[in-house]
């Protein structure tokens, strides 16, 4: 496989042809924040947190690292004042858009959104909270869904479709009416296609999908499980 050389934050790194900036940076131990990206499933560049600055002859522009393949001689900045500000704004908008009350959330202390809020230095939101009325679905035998905590990363949609092959989840509606629905908008517990595998729950970066019966701060996720499953599928490595 051809090797490409790119410059990230002034440091020359190598990458495989076809690899994204995000993957190349990860291999070089360069951290780029992200929320919708999940190892083993396709990228949709929905959250825009992995925006990096690409320097070109015509000036710099922002591109999502998860969906931009490396090209020979690329110059990329993963962190600067402008990018940091954009990331913080994105996190603030996510908090303002949904109902994210960490203090009483099942994943408090174990939440990717919360971790990123800390990472980007969010101490308040400059945007007014919307407090949307969004329902909780507890119809499933073992899992629950709180639409108020959803950030529409669509990890659950992709994991269920691309790894489990059940395609329980979809995105419905537009704008502020956007929602993640199961079984073409059926209560989750009524969806026969659900295999109860729990991959969607393991993939959720917030407390939107949770194990039923979880109390505040109690949810723990097996963050390596999905990566292991993908590895098992692709490389036939059945143990971890």
């Amino acid at each position: 496989m051809a090797v490409k050389y790119i410059r990230v934050n002034g440091k020359m790194i190598s990458a495989r042809a076809g690899e994204t900036i995000l993957d190349a940076a990860k291999d070089a131990n360069i951290h780029i924040p992200r929320l919708c990206h999940l190892e083993g499933v396709s990228d949709v560049a929905a959250c825009r947190l992995c925006l990096v600055e690409l320097e070109t002859d015509r000036g710099s522009r922002l591109v999502p690292a998860c969906a931009t393949p490396v090209e020979e001689g690329m110059t990329v900045n993963t962190h600067n004042e402008k990018i940091n500000e954009y990331r913080r704004m994105i996190i603030e908008l996510l908090f303002a858009e949904g109902n994210h009350v960490c203090a009483v959330c099942v994943v408090n202390g174990n939440c990717e959104l919360q971790d990123l809020a800390i990472e980007v230095g969010m101490d308040h939101s400059r945007f007014e909270y919307r407090f949307p009325v969004r329902e909780v679905d507890l119809t499933h035998q073992i899992f629950g869904k709180d639409q108020g905590r959803c950030i529409f990363c669509t990890r659950c949609v992709r994991v269920c479709d691309e790894i489990e092959g059940a395609h329980v989840w979809d995105v419905a509606g537009r704008g502020h009416n956007l929602q993640i629905v199961s079984g073409l908008k059926q209560p989750w517990g009524n969806v026969d296609a659900c295999t109860k595998c729990g991959k969607c729950v393991e993939s959720c970066p917030t407390g939107s999908l949770f194990f039923k019966g979880s109390a505040v701060s109690e949810m723990q996720r097996d963050s390596g499980k999905l990566e292991f499953l993908v590895q098992a599928r692709d490389k036939h490595e059945w143990t971890r």
Binding site: L138, D146, S217
Partner: protein, 477 residues
């Protein structure tokens, strides 16, 4: 002033309590006190915004009602959850929950006694308000202040040992608790028991020595007949977590016993008044407002047959002797708090070496088996009810909380009126009145954050109003 037919004194806000409140004192044409009202001016709406949440989250959500007694809500909510799951938590879980409640009683009572109330009688009712607080106490008697602070720390640290954090732990869950006691935690608790017992005995000796000097306060700070309500054990002994509900009158006569929380609506009514957000619970058979009852440490000591531990039982006997039987003055709340701290420490000592607290099963797992549950426990300030209705999946449909401070609402209003009538004799506002009226409220250690299901701190404001609403005079601290 003489032209006015009457006026109103408003103390707003009331200080050294937990929450926001103001007091209005109404004067008649002769400048005699005609009435007094204790207004709770904060509103939170927990009962409403919990609707639609999973029942399993309720313990964590309702513990956020208060930063002083989150454990009380945590336990009452977990017990309500037990009912909805229709499970009996493992015995170890029950013991650990009991230990947490004992620690909560210790830390909350120590806060009330040392930090909030003791400056009044140790530094003087009329001393400078700027130093009439725990910092003034530290300057005047650093050893005593340190004793109080460390006693509270003892309780707080146990909460952390058990629930991983001092406030707002979500350790108790429907069906039990999340984790057992650790060996390190047990050893720490044991190491601090002797010092804590010594501290509470010192406080008891000090307070009993002050009682003679405080005879006027005893006579005027809520000295009236009322019912007393609380939990008692199977044999009538002091209880804080389980047991059954008992009502006792001012003569010590049991007027209702073996009541279960499940039908609390049969014997507790809730009245509302347009001038306060705090509801007025009353004993239904006697109607409103005749069904006035008191809860909390004073009530618990008045209704129980014994404290269930040797030193606390000796103190209970002396308490009853000094109070002349049933203690009907709310000033004795302070005294009762100290005895409860002693009992709590003794009860913790009695259970701390049980090995299963470290090794036993702590949680029963179940689904939704009942659509309604009512849980009760004794918060430091009194009896606390949580009542939930859920759908078949466990989503909350309705919540009703009857909180300790609410139970004492009628009594607090009566206490304010009694103090005002005792100290206001004419058109002038006596120096020190403000503090005494506030101190009358402080006897109950009210937690308004809980009772209206908010937190804050308050300066003091007093306003005089004519009957037509005209502001006649105003004083601010």
């Amino acid at each position: 002033m003489s032209e006015n037919k009457g006026k109103t004194i408003v103390i707003d806000p009331v200080t050294r309590i937990e929450g926001h409140a103001k007091i209005s004192i109404f004067l008649d044409e002769n400048n005699e006190v005609s009435d007094a009202r204790f207004h709770v001016v904060e509103f939170r709406g927990f009962e409403k915004f919990c609707e639609g949440r999973p029942m399993y989250e309720m313990a964590g959500i309702t513990s956020r009602i208060c930063g002083i007694c989150p454990v009380s809500h945590l336990l009452a909510s977990a017990k309500t959850g037990d009912k909805i799951l229709a499970v009996q938590p493992p015995p170890v879980a029950v013991k650990l929950r009991r230990m947490m409640n004992l620690a909560q009683i210790t830390q909350s009572h120590a806060l009330s006694f040392f930090h909030l109330s003791s400056p009044d009688w140790l530094l003087g009712w009329d001393s400078d308000p700027a130093t009439r607080n725990v910092f003034g106490l530290m300057a005047a008697d650093p050893d005593l202040a340190r004793t109080g602070i460390r006693l509270r720390q003892f309780g707080q640290q146990i909460l952390e040992v058990l629930g991983a954090r001092k406030i707002h732990s979500a350790w108790a869950v429907p069906g039990g608790v999340r984790s057992p006691l650790t060996i390190e935690g047990r050893d720490w608790i044991k190491s601090r028991l002797p010092e804590s017992k010594e501290a509470i005995n010192l406080a008891l000796k000090l307070f009993k020595g002050l009682l003679l000097k405080l005879s006027r306060e005893i006579e005027t700070f809520g000295q009236f007949p009322s019912l007393f309500m609380g939990l008692v054990g199977e044999n009538g002994e002091w209880e804080h977590y389980d047991g059954h509900i008992r009502f006792v009158d001012s003569n010590g006569k049991i007027i209702a016993d073996n009541l279960k929380e499940d039908n609390y609506r049969d014997y507790i009514g809730e009245a509302v008044e347009p001038w306060t957000y705090l509801k007025f619970p009353y004993y239904k058979p006697l109607g409103y407002p005749d069904g006035i009852y008191r809860v909390g440490p004073l009530a618990r000591l008045n209704i129980c047959s014994s404290m269930g531990s040797p030193a606390a039982d000796r103190e209970l006997r002396e308490f009853r002797y000094l109070a002349g039987g049933v203690a009907t003055s709310s000033f004795f709340y302070h005294y009762a708090r100290l005895i409860e701290i002693l009992a709590a420490i003794e009860h913790i000592e009695a259970m701390i070496d049980e090995p299963e607290l470290i090794t036993g099963e702590t949680r029963a797992i179940a689904g939704i088996n009942q659509l309604e549950g009512i849980g009760v426990s004794e918060a430091p300030r009194g009896t606390l009810f949580h009542h939930y209705q859920v759908d078949k999946d466990g989503l909350i449909k309705k919540v009703n909380l009857i909180v300790a401070t609410g139970n004492n609402n009628l009594a607090m209003n009566k206490t304010v009126a009694q103090i005002a009538k005792s100290y206001i004799k004419g058109p002038e506002i006596p120096e020190g009145l403000l503090n005494r009226v506030e101190a009358g409220i402080r006897c109950y250690d009210p937690c308004l954050s809980c009772s209206t299901h908010a937190a804050g701190q308050m300066p003091l404001q007093l306003q005089l109003f004519a009957p037509d609403g005209t502001l006649l005079d105003e004083k601010r601290r």
